[in-house]
């Protein structure tokens, strides 16, 4: 008995040794950086090592609250973040609508083609999206050329160098990139619908709109609910890549979202400590959002998404 027990134990530890190198990688690259949060409590200037005499306590957090210009700037950044996240949330039904419409297309070949074409943009980088935007929207690009040859406009519109409708245009690019791919998630849910149910409804005289409204749409709502909850949990995190590549001196006022702001103040004037302080505040709020939405999801669906 004891011998078997020992052998089992030895195997348990041996198996642990197999995964240990990977756990060390996780500790180094995901957990160890959390230690960097202490920089928010120091006056950190890059090449010098961190010493106790540079400890400043909550100075950076206080400086945010005390300086009207900083508050003003952060309010602007928050306004942009809320506007862009809010737009995506408000239009989060768009991929679902795409999926429903795709489901109404009966030609299999056509479906396959449009599905392939509309999901492609999801797999190119934001840099490529920007390059495409630059090429298509520049003063001699396709959009301006077509509009001018149709006589709609006389002078080219400088789409990218404008401060107008920045949030909406950022939402449009995001949708261009993601909507086709997001629709696939719903299409997966649609294949789960029992064809007999549609058939039965049809026999009972339900019109196509009624079938969409009473059968198709309700079967997609659980998926939609989860995605909206995830959207809410990530409300403050728009990522920085999209906004970094699209930013220029014309649209800076409107495009700077929280993630980009954290990068810009760190790189722009070496405000490492302030930047870390702001990202700590962001993490705390994000964590609360995640817990709240997860709890809400548990309440409604009986299970969370974590």
């Amino acid at each position: 008995m004891g011998k078997i027990y020992n052998r089992k134990k030895a195997r348990a530890y041996r198996e642990f040794l197999y995964i240990l190198p990977f756990l060390i990688l996780v500790l180094i690259f995901s957990y160890y950086p959390l230690y960097g949060w202490v920089y928010a409590f120091f006056d950190y200037k890059p090449p010098f090592p961190l010493t106790m005499d540079r400890f400043v306590g909550f100075k950076w957090f206080k400086s945010i609250a005390d300086s009207p210009t900083k508050i003003n700037q952060i309010l602007k950044v928050l306004r942009n973040t809320f506007a862009i996240s809010g737009l995506s949330l408000f239009f989060s039904w768009v991929p679902m609508a795409f999926a429903i419409l795709l489901n109404e297309i009966k030609s299999k070949g056509y479906r396959k083609i449009v599905q392939t074409v509309t999901t492609l943009p999801n797999f190119i980088s934001w840099v490529l999206v920007y390059s495409i935007a630059f090429n298509v929207l520049s003063s001699t690009g396709a959009v301006n050329s077509i509009l001018m040859s149709l006589g709609v406009i006389d002078t080219p519109i400088l789409f990218l160098q404008s401060s107008k409708h920045v949030w909406f245009r950022m939402w449009l690019w995001l949708t261009w990139k993601n909507a086709g791919w997001a629709a696939i998630m719903y299409i997966a849910a649609l294949t789960g619908i029992d064809e007999e149910m549609n058939e039965a409804a049809r026999i009972d005289g339900a019109s196509r709109i009624q079938i969409i409204w009473h059968i198709t749409l309700p079967s997609l709502l659980p998926t939609y609910f989860v995605l909206v909850m995830l959207n809410l949990a990530n409300f403050l995190s728009n990522g920085m890549e999209q906004f970094y590549v699209f930013q220029n001196s014309f649209n800076k006022e409107y495009i700077q979202v929280l993630d980009l702001y954290v990068y810009n103040i760190a790189m722009g004037n070496g405000g490492y400590s302030l930047s870390v302080a702001i990202s700590i505040l962001k993490s705390i709020v994000s964590l609360i959002l995640l817990c709240v939405t997860n709890a809400f999801s548990k309440l409604v669906r009986g299970e969370g998404f974590i």
Partner: protein, 309 residues
């Protein structure tokens, strides 16, 4: 309800105006959407092959005008582009191999009930999906580890990818337990079961993870931006971004000094537009080539992910 009655009813429905409207809307919306997604790629592609004086003035909209391939010859002369291509290929190949191998192995190990404190380690890994220390602490960590301006800075942080591990674990769990048990009775150890029994069975999910991971590696931009100042380590994405913002200064470097102003020379002399378009095609082509072939793997991947989520 007689069979005949049902049939006429169905036929009536197909021709009803409401029905036609829905079909028309579906086709219209999707044709428009597909066009908007497809045309930019097509536009850039035909421009990269057209006469450069025409493309610069925005005259190439629907088909190639003045076909020539000189742009693709000249693009090799753009400083740094070939090096960047090598770096991007290397990080994609090495990074993807290590990430997939790790995801498969850990996905398997986390199903081993014999593993010491299995649940704890699994949670430790999966939890990293939900938090992130922020870019500055991450940057400082990388600098302390000497991974700034270092090729391994592209690879090491990406080796353990929790989402892929979850995908693999879900897949391994769907494999009948008897397969492992039989091997165990035959005396196979943990590693032998992995290499000889599991690996052949979980190939489909490994293909899915490989594609996801390769696309991520190829597209990655932010790590170069944060970690690398050494131009030799620039990736294609990063170089493309620089070209877009400074293409006008590049054309002087690429055009030979003896360029005359004859019509023929104008058509092939590099312009800011032609360089931008051609480099864009070079960067996007690998994705477009692998994409249709691997689309089914992607879809399988999100379905497994959706079931899990």
């Amino acid at each position: 309800m007689s069979r005949k009655h049902y049939k006429t009813k169905k036929r009536k429905m197909i021709v009803s105006p409401e029905d036609r409207l829905i079909t028309a809307i579906s086709y219209f919306v999707y044709t428009l959407f597909a066009f908007v997604c497809f045309y930019p790629f097509y536009y850039i592609f035909i421009n990269s092959l057209s006469a450069n004086d025409l493309s610069e003035r925005g005259k190439v909209l629907f088909w190639i005008k003045g076909l020539h391939f000189k742009n693709y010859v000249d693009v090799a002369k753009v400083p740094g582009l070939f090096d960047a291509f090598k770096i991007s290929v290397a990080r994609t190949a090495i990074g993807t191999t290590l990430t997939v191998a790790t995801a498969a192995f850990l996905g398997y190990m986390f199903t081993r009930e014999t593993l010491w404190k299995r649940k704890l380690w699994y949670r430790l890994v999966v939890a990293t999906m939900y938090f992130n220390a922020g870019i500055i602490p991450w940057y400082i960590t990388m600098r302390n580890l000497n991974l700034t301006n270092n090729f391994w800075g592209y690879i090491l942080p990406n080796i353990v990818a929790p989402f892929y591990i979850v995908l693999c674990k879900t897949y391994v769990e769907s494999v009948p337990k008897e397969l492992q048990q039989a091997a165990e009775i035959d005396g196979a150890g943990t590693l032998r079961i992995f290499f000889q029994i599991m690996l052949p069975v979980i190939k489909p999910i490994m293909a899915t993870v490989a594609i996801f991971s390769a696309v991520n590696q190829w597209n990655s931009f932010q790590d170069t931006l944060l970690l690398v100042t050494d131009t030799k380590l620039y990736t294609l994405q990063f170089v493309l971004y620089q070209y877009i913002t400074q293409a006008s200064s590049l054309k002087a470097l690429v055009n030979s000094s003896s360029a005359s102003s004859s019509m023929a020379a104008l058509a092939t002399a590099q312009t800011a537009t032609s360089i931008r378009m051609t480099v864009t095609v070079v960067v996007v082509t690998p994705i477009i080539l692998v994409y249709p072939y691997f689309q089914k793997f992607f879809i399988k991947g999100i379905m497994i992910g959706a079931v899990k989520g």
